[in-house]
Assembly symmetry: C2
Homo-oligomer: 253 residues x 2
């Protein structure tokens, strides 16, 4: 796989590159035991989307970025898979937005936190990115959650008004929405609880989303007041897109 991943003209290059990043992250102890299986589920849904940013995902991404740019206290949350797949792009976006990132993992162990802090710290240093990385010393809790997964920081997630939490678990998404925040998720499954609960759901693959957001940062900030956004319609378009793939193929057979 090392050879294939080094050849960008290979048709599976992007997919193999993402796998390679996860394998490296696993060796570094950044990932939970379920990380690879979760990634595989994502691969299946991305395959159904045609491995492309569909129109409704672009609309949602645009709206999400406008919400982050217009926020008083935005924060970008990273878990293990996000740090592995798009740690660099998340830090770059945070620097542009002048907001902190917060490491916020569902299965929290000191070893994983240390590995994630080291990984992001190295990217910051290598790329000369000036961003505050929160999460090492949680001093608050997300109401409605139990155990270590509730831990967060006061100056980051707790007091944020707009939070970007890609690849988030349904329970945590629900708890963040219940706090009155604008919650932006990236989830390839339009039927998932996170997708249904979030304020803004981007049904797209994370590295494409980050690339789109970084590109969109060069446009002027959009006025959200003049922009009616309907998350149900966004999910609906994703569902129809996938359903059409199945029925078209079925009719061709």
């Amino acid at each position: 796989m090392g050879n294939i991943a080094a050849d960008p003209s290979h048709p599976r290059y992007q997919s193999l590159l993402l796998r390679h990043r996860l394998e490296q992250a696993e060796k570094q102890g950044m990932l939970a035991g379920s990380a690879m299986i979760a990634h595989g589920r994502g691969e299946a849904f991305d395959y159904l989307l045609g491995e492309q940013t569909i129109n409704s995902a672009r609309v949602a991404t645009n709206h999400a970025l406008a919400a982050l740019r217009g926020a008083k206290r935005p924060v970008l949350s990273l878990n293990g898979n996000v740090a592995a797949l798009a740690g660099r792009e998340t830090l770059l976006l945070a620097e542009m937005l002048q907001c902190p990132v917060e490491i916020n993992i569902f299965y929290r162990t000191p070893q994983r936190m240390k590995a994630l802090l080291e990984h992001l710290g190295k990217i910051k240093l290598d790329e000369g990115i000036d961003v505050t990385i929160l999460g090492a010393a949680p001093n608050a809790r997300i109401p409605g959650l139990e155990g270590p997964r509730a831990k967060c920081t006061k100056e980051g997630i707790l007091e944020s008004d707009v939070i970007f939490v890609p690849l988030e678990d349904g329970d945590r998404c629900e708890a963040l929405v219940a706090m009155g925040k604008t919650v932006i998720v990236v989830d390839l499954n339009p039927l998932s609880r996170s997708a249904k609960m979030a304020s803004i759901t981007i049904v797209d693959e994370l590295t494409r989303v980050m690339e789109n957001m970084l590109a969109m940062m060069s446009s002027p900030i959009e006025d959200l007041a003049s922009n009616s956004y309907d998350n149900e319609a966004v999910l609906d378009e994703a569902l129809h897109h996938v359903a059409t793939k199945f029925t078209q193929t079925s009719n061709e057979a």
Copy 2:
């Protein structure tokens, strides 16, 4: 997860149990690097099926078993994931069919072969199952394939007339079909190349398939001549089933 996996009343018991088997197999060196991601893709498609054996899958399973029971030289092929998830059930079925099993892995290394042979050997011993396990010493090649993935045994895969190859790669499925064999695959993705290429495609989760086959072994052998089987219709029903899930949910929203 140890605790949850021990409680069959947990709603995710079956799913967690399968993950647990894969984690154990990974520790034993039985799996390829992509095994967990492949399992995740399967989980996503099974979620879309509703984690149930749909009617067309039952029809295909029944027909597949009839083909195996009526075969002159049937063989059951196992890769790492199959051995991990349903090694015991595959050996039990082979014993009932009085046919050999063959370990046949895409990413072949001596270490993986050894781990797989040990795993299956232990099951044979523990359960007192009398089955020939082929694959340790390949003495033939599947025409049309290159490299280690072409290796097989003359007395097993090469000379078989009906072959059961769950979770098979598209290239290998195609090569086996080109040899004129009746090729039975288990694949949760009805759009995959294996699903489309195979003689009989069971769109269902492997452990459910094995359970169904073992149960069906107590019925009399079906007469295939009187049973018109249409694999395209079977795939079509699976596609419609999934598409309906998307459109129904979409309409409810």
